[in-house]
Symmetry: C2
Subunit: 347 residues, 2 copies
DNA sequence: CTGAAAGCGCTTACAG
DNA sequence: CTGAAAGCGCTTACAG
């Protein structure tokens, strides 16, 4: 298929040395004179030599390749995160094998196996479930990997896995706090998939706020979503039909908030006049004029970037293998969907 | 680092056969009895054998890996396309190495080299420039690759490169046609980067429409953009300040249309009452209620999917090496940003 | 400072 | 139907 590629043996022949000498010269290892090295480098360039990274990977057990597992490449949340991973990888000379699971644990398991078979040096996984059965073996094998976005809640794994997550707890807390201060008493909450640690944490933050103020929440106002726009859309339509409908909705992710938004607008309800709306994540769509979604900002890019950095550090063992746990800040971003600028806080 | 992996030699030892026999058994090749094969397969499973795909790739010169080169992973246009690629790759058992160039030709060249070094079986490239200097060598080496989204306009490459593109010409034609029929005479056009074939084609479609009707375009109303929201934002602000400002703006990509939209809204201009706005691509953001961007729909997902399919077919040579050229349809999607529902066509 | 040997994990071709 | 040999392109020891 391809015209035959130049190998170090071809270079060796021209340079009149053995091929291991070529290897050492090209890799700047000691054991070959400076003059000869330059000559070899020159010949390599002239012949248009490109190292065969597959062979290199086989012999060195280092591929300079990282696996990245995300849920959905159409979801801005995951692409922001992927962008950070890409950046960190690029800075250190790694390439990314991208795997998307589309919410399937089976698919995740499949990719975990494939990535190992492909000899990646490490894996960045953003999709683990709270009781994920598939990462134990990575821990046992001491295969380098880092969890971002979601972590396992399995106690036996405590202190064994590097992670970088967002402060979902604070996000859940701050979101409901904002709505409550604006005077809302009937606040509906649409959570993420409750088998994911981030959704669990957000909900806990929300509940703790209510607990702190000794407020009881109407269970009818609590809905489990799955971070998809569609389910949030449907949930919102149901919430509005309640005998005592909510005056505010806290969708615990901007994608869901946008789904809620569509539902409310379809029903000719005004945001925030009829129903206030807040999300979490601060994705780009929410920033558009006319959307103006109030939300809790999360450092998605940084999460990907730091996750990859930590993984690379682990792989390159520049540092004693200390487990790193990082939680990135969550901050309220006030736009127009809650009505703060019109009314201000009432309590 | 990892606990030692099981290899075919380990299996061979247990099964009391030679390791090539194990290889043949596991790969369902003739030359090993059915009973023995099943025994070997069983042992492999028990030992938790995972083939080393790196070694396999080295010896077979087939990695079941594809390189995908896109501009920007934060851009919905490219992620839609990547989603199609992913799907096709997954269906045929390939994985994707993702490379993002961020509009840099140097970066593109770098990734082209790296991908070959990494032994990918083929490359899907969505970022070639009209006079791209870096793909000739792929053609010369007969390295399998397919252009999507953009093609080279170099005549010497005609009929040598598979491609799947969108019908940008029609998009450019239909966009201005819609505005013209609505009664607009001063229509501004913000093009994509004019070193890219898709931008060139869109602009040609637009110009041809005007030519067909023998309409002269005020050159002040033509702006070169670069598919980024920011430049379009700035261009729009300038256009509006013109002595004779346009009554409609045709941004030849939805990202730019959204930039224009922000600019107009910042200036308290209404869309479409004060200025009509149309884009190209039909990205998701334009579909949100309140954005309601009229646009020309492009089959981005299909483009990625078909591109990858064609590439895989080429790689697997299931078909005589006929060059495939596919142009996907462009259709007008009427929403609210041009005012059609209020006024209808005037001519 | 240099060369020849061995090996990474696999597959292909060639004897028995 | 099975085994032993050779080799993919590279690197890492180990002699001289």
């Amino acid at each position: 298929m391809e015209s035959k590629k130049i190998t170090i043996k071809d270079i060796a022949k021209v340079a009149n040395v053995s091929h291991p000498t070529v290897s050492m010269a090209l890799n700047n290892r000691p054991g070959v004179g400076e003059k000869k090295r330059q000559e070899i480098v020159h010949i390599a360039k002239q012949l248009g030599y490109q190292p065969n990274l597959v062979a290199k990977a086989l012999v060195s057990n280092r591929s300079y390749t990282l696996g990245l597992i995300i849920n959905n490449i159409s979801d801005q949340f995951y692409t922001d995160l992927a962008k950070g991973v890409e950046k960190a990888a690029d800075e250190s000379g790694y390439n990314i094998i991208l795997c998307t699971t589309n919410d399937s644990l089976n698919s995740q398991k499949k990719y975990l196996d494939i990535l190992q078979s492909r000899g990646v040096d490490g894996i960045i996984i953003s999709t683990v479930s709270a009781r994920d059965p598939h990462i134990n073996f990575l821990v046992k094998e001491q295969f380098p990997f880092v969890c971002i976005n979601r972590v396992s809640l399995d106690r036996s794994l405590d202190n064994k896995i590097d992670y970088v997550i967002l402060d979902n707890y604070s996000a859940g807390y701050k979101g409901i706090e904002h709505l409550w201060k604006l005077g809302h008493d009937r606040i509906a909450v649409i959570t993420g998939s409750l088998d994911a640690s981030n959704a669990i944490a957000s909900l806990k933050g929300t509940k703790d706020f209510l607990l702190d103020l000794q407020i009881k929440m109407d269970p009818k106002l609590l809905r489990e979503g799955n971070y998809s726009r569609k389910t949030a859309y449907n949930a919102a339509k149901q919430l509005v039909k309640l005998k005592k409908p909510p005056t505010a909705i806290f969708a615990q992710d901007d994608n869901m908030a946008l789904g809620v938004r569509e539902a409310l607008l379809d029903l000719d309800l005004r945001i925030p006049e009829d129903i206030a709306l807040i999300g979490i994540d601060n994705i780009e769509m929410g920033t558009l004029t006319g959307i103006d979604l109030t939300t809790i900002s999360q450092e998605k890019y940084e999460m990907g970037y730091l996750g990859a950095k930590i993984l690379i550090k682990t792989i390159e063992k520049k540092v004693p293998a200390m487990v790193e746990k990082i939680v990135l800040a969550a901050n309220l971003i006030v736009r127009k969907s809650c009505g703060y600028s019109q009314c201000g806080y009432k309590r």
